[in-house]
Subunit: 205 residues, 4 copies
DNA sequence: CTTTAATCGAGACGGTACGTCTGGTCTTGTT
DNA sequence: AACAAGACCAGACGTACCGTCTCGATTAAAG
């Protein structure tokens, strides 16, 4: 990888600094949101010089995304069952549970920051969204094969609906709870499962 | 109204300034997003003194929300037809069409700003969301009465799903197009219309 | 006078306002000096509208000078004795006593303000200094006639020395006390009274 | 000195900036007095960022005093003669000559600023007045020893009278000229030199 | 007994400067 | 090289007053 050998010579980067910075960034994002999430503040809180942070992250957003990944990583392990629907629901509710606390606030920060800085959403998409989707997409594809889901269902599209509702609540500072998550899941699922008669045709008429 | 007599005395506020400020704010939000949306910049662009802006809006977010309302107001007129479903779809697609351009960018700005400033989402909810929902909610209630929608459908919840997907795309800078809008609408609708057999029960099993 | 008929018609100016403004101005100058002496503050404290103050005084300095005059006026009555020197000393010490408190602070304000605004020192000179000097100058002239003072003494110059020392102490925030005042008076007097042999000639040699 | 090692680390302060700021401050004070002497203006004129100025001087007055010192420093060299009186007169007239131009205006600015800000007069006293007095006080003490001045003369007090008159003229915007300076000096001197008979006793009587 | 004309309170308005905060860059010496 | 420390430029923040202006509401004397 190009990443493995960026610096062969000179003093190596301190792993200790890395941890201190990510920790401080995470705390600040959780406590005060974007407003308090300032390179200056991260530096002060972590005890690492400002220069060091700038050297490692080009933008505030990149640091935020890395902090989020650092916090969420290794949170997920899922033991698959026979039912793809059940597995998906478990994964979805797990995510909602996670986002109820600090992590939801941080995710919202990233989305907000992304509005002014395209590279942030790039980093978020590539660094988190896509990897995180591998598992649920896999479940969906499995379900399509077993017939639990309709064949014409677009897995990406399903994810979009499921999480669109979540993002909206996060940004509007409305609470996420499991009952609500189940309701969202149920409604979306209804549109994904095989049914005797297609409803949408009638409507378009 | 209680609003008509807030200040009987003193020099009245200039309506000209009001327009100039809202216009400038709108343009800046559309062109540069939150980053360029600075009171200083609004002042410079509108030719109105900074103090005058501060006098009228307590926060940047409040100004953003007002700009958005000012721009969107009187965009909507809907001639109802016999079908509640068709009316709702028309309204939804109309909104999507509107948000494809500048207005989408501005709405995203408001959501982003709202992350750091709770009053902004308050202003957005009270000043825009709730009033704007009156019409679609009315359509939904009508549809429930006529049996086009299932009786146990929560209109608020339906709106949440429909627009959650939209907000998510706006924030992730993904394009809104009508085909996509129709697909969202179809899927959500499937979960709202009467069906021979309830799907979700089977699934939860 | 040109002053008696500036406005024959219309609503006459309120004497009550005049008093309230001068009072408030005086208090502010005494309490906070020039820094707190703001038209806004005078307005707030006096309860009189800002416009009204601007209508009556063209500059801040003019108001300050008027306040000082208003406060000092009618403080002085002097019953002359046989000795011009004694009368002058009495007047001088009386002035020092007066300037020990608030009035000294206010006088310093006027001098300070005058630095940035020439009209203020004009107003001070014409409105206070010159009238206030009439009495001491009269005493000095009397003393010259009686031979208590040397014939070649310039009364204005004597006043300058006596009060230069006072102004200096006021501006450098050093205390004025009567012992000091007496010392100043004695030293200056030595240079004004007839003496057997002229000292200064020897010195210049 | 404790001053030599206040900050060993970090980027050292730019001497170039220091000079540019002091120069600009001096020019502004001379040209427009306190009114135009604004941190903003100093920054604009010197080309140095506002923050840099704030970092180095806590108050406007402190900067003014430093500017004055910077301008006056190394103006004075005096070659002592046999006569203490002559030396003192030379020093006094030298100072008056210096204060006739820009420097007088600047000194007045400092006194004026000092009225609202005690730290300014503190800085002025400690940073300029006291050091500048060393030489004349020395002359006076010498003169007392040699009998040119009376033994009971207080040197500080003499200086006070000499310069009180100067300050007064500066603040009242009256011109300083050498003839006047000589007259002040003569009069004050008369009170300091040995005389056949004490005048003040007669007066108090 | 109306005009008439100035005063008064209230507050909007365009400015200017304040002092603070953060961003990003740079220049030191130290590790 | 990386790192800590901190100077530096740039620019927006929100506040405080400035002096001017527009209102409507008083208030006396003149018509």
């Amino acid at each position: 990888m190009g990443e493995t050998k960026p610096a062969r010579t000179g003093r190596p980067r301190s792993e200790f600094c890395q941890q201190a910075i990510l920790r401080a960034a995470l705390d600040l994002l959780a406590e005060e949101g974007l407003a308090g999430f300032t390179i200056e503040a991260v530096s002060a809180r972590s005890g690492v010089a400002r220069t060091t942070i700038y050297r490692r992250w080009l933008t505030r957003g990149a640091l935020a995304v890395d902090s989020f990944r650092h916090a969420v990583s290794a949170e997920f392990t899922l033991s698959p069952t026979a039912s793809a629907v059940a597995d998906l629901r478990t994964a979805y509710l797990g995510m909602i549970r996670l986002l109820q606390g600090q992590h939801g606030r941080i995710l919202a920060s990233i989305l907000a920051e992304g509005h002014s800085d395209p590279t942030t959403i790039g980093a978020f998409t590539d660094g988190y969204l896509i990897p995180a989707r591998v598992l649920p997409l896999h479940i969906l594809h499995r379900g399509i094969k077993t017939g639990e889901f309709r064949a014409d269902v677009d897995p990406q599209f399903v994810m979009e609906l499921l999480f669109g509702a979540v993002y909206r609540r996060l940004l509007l500072r409305q609470p996420l709870d499991e009952a609500w998550g189940n309701a969202v899941f149920d409604l979306v699922l209804t549109g994904c499962t095989p049914q005797p008669q297609q409803a949408s045709q009638t409507m378009a008429a």
